[in-house]
Symmetry: C2
Subunit: 307 residues, 2 copies
């Protein structure tokens, strides 16, 4: 990774974080209704929800050759395109509601392709109660590009941010990790909407985040937002069959939930979870530490802007 | 334009309307909160606004080579990218609020390019009171592609749809038409937010739409949604200097408002408008007719999907 400095007039790669700082300087301060803007799984807006709720806003892009291989069946591309931002809504404890879909498609596309793509989008929309309320289609000579924007709602008391973790909290993950790209799971995953809503209704859950870039990249982000360090027991990671610990840390695209839980409330949550979600594990993998404590060194996951 | 039939397995161009019908068949019905989904300037959502308001949702894409030429100064690209969906919010009588920006940028981009683009976006955000609350950046080998999703709010009583026009209503346009691309105006236009809000507060205004594809394309769409026909006096069109009537009808990218007004309330609106908006004309150009009446034949404007 080449650091980007303000002196550089030439064209260098930079990390998403560096780019975000650069961009933010050019933008006005968010208005008073913005509870959380750039930097969490979703933006959170006050006053735009039903009474007692907050609105969640998310946008997410899917690019052929980056997020799916050329030749991937289009219904799976559609499913993934909508389920990715749904997973972000899950990580806030919310319910997805209304989506707009922008598709830049090759100019050679006809009925079969459009129908295939929207069959997958429609399937995901039905599965998670999303209404498609708008969008745009553009012909393009380039690879397929989709951009989905999605809103959702969350009860004020259920909102969980990345910044809520405290030293001593247990770190847990839902499901299993690793091998998502290799196995094709990244095209068929189930966003953890029910699990996220359940966890958000538990007072002991202090923060949540969805695992899209890999635990090795995502946990440090959550820790940074919570002003904490962390320690994980890598041999306690719930692995998908055939996956190594390194793959569980850095493959990415798991779309599981990373959750922190107050230790004194963990026993009750653990036993209620077992009844509420018998088919999905909730596994403790470590503990949040005071900031300054040496964090477990983790291999990094995916950063779209890293060369 | 080659019609697309369901038998066609091969790859043919189709119009936006045809594609929309095809796509809609694959999607679930919108939920009960959706007042208007696909088909107006914005989607309109009930229950997601402050008390007495509705939420407006819009997404809009900008592609190098389609919406702006390669080499266009990036601050102007940023301005246009955000102002286009703001213009759609204006056409609903609303105020823009929160935006998310997705940028697929060439992998060669560095500080200067990102800063330039976001300077334009920031300028538009400040001018129209928009908070940028999220987005995504993707490196791409392809031309620059931006997708902006924007929400806004409108008082329930101020909402104006395309479908509200009645036979006998006067057809009016704000400002002047034609030559937007040639003059570069499409990169510097002022969305008619103040004018849209003013018009929407007038009981006599029955429908509104923003002119992006050209009056020749946009007026038939409004008429179709209102189940009306129309007649316009083409020699009454307010022309930008040096523009022909044909250009005013088909150049597109005017970003003016197309408005229908009850004839008996027109005199009052006309005189109040002159005081409220002394710098922007509101020009009557024709009349809505009962459906079935022969519409004025107009040259078509721009359809992104037409070959």
């Amino acid at each position: 990774m080449i650091p980007l400095t303000s002196k550089s007039k030439i064209l260098k790669p930079c990390s998403e974080d560096e780019l975000l700082r650069l961009i933010s300087k050019e933008l006005p301060s968010p208005d008073e209704d913005v509870v959380t803007g750039i930097g969490d799984d979703c933006a959170v807006i006050r006053g735009f929800g039903k009474s007692g709720t907050l609105e969640l806003l998310k946008t997410d892009a899917l690019v052929e050759g980056i997020h799916f291989a050329r030749g991937t069946p289009l219904p799976l591309v559609g499913w993934k395109a909508l389920c990715r931002p749904i997973s972000d809504i899950a990580a806030m404890g919310g319910s997805p509601r209304h989506a707009m879909i922008t598709v830049a498609a090759p100019s050679t596309w006809g009925v079969t392709e459009w129908r295939g793509l929207y069959r997958g989008i429609g399937k995901a929309a039905r599965a998670f109660g999303v209404s498609i309320v708008g969008g745009e289609t553009v012909r393009s000579p380039n690879p397929l590009f989709l951009s989905v924007s999605l809103n959702g709602e969350v009860r004020k008391t259920h909102l969980r941010l990345r910044s809520g973790a405290k030293p001593g909290d247990f770190i847990c993950v839902t499901g299993k990790l690793g091998g998502s790209l290799r196995s094709g799971r990244h095209l068929r995953f189930q966003p953890r909407i029910a699990e996220g809503a359940w966890l958000a209704s538990e007072r002991g859950v202090t923060s949540m985040m969805d695992l899209s870039d890999g635990l090795g990249s995502d946990l440090p982000k959550l820790a940074k937002e919570s002003l904490c360090s962390f320690r994980i027991a890598t041999d306690s990671l719930p692995l998908h069959k055939g996956c190594s610990i390194k793959e569980a840390l850095s493959d990415g695209e798991d779309y599981e939930l990373l959750v922190t839980i107050r230790p004194q409330l963990w026993p009750g949550i653990q036993s209620r979870w077992a009844k509420a979600s018998p088919d999905v594990a909730l596994t403790p993998i470590g503990m949040m530490l005071p900031s300054g404590a040496l964090a477990t060194a983790l291999p990094k996951g995916y950063d779209h802007l890293r060369p």
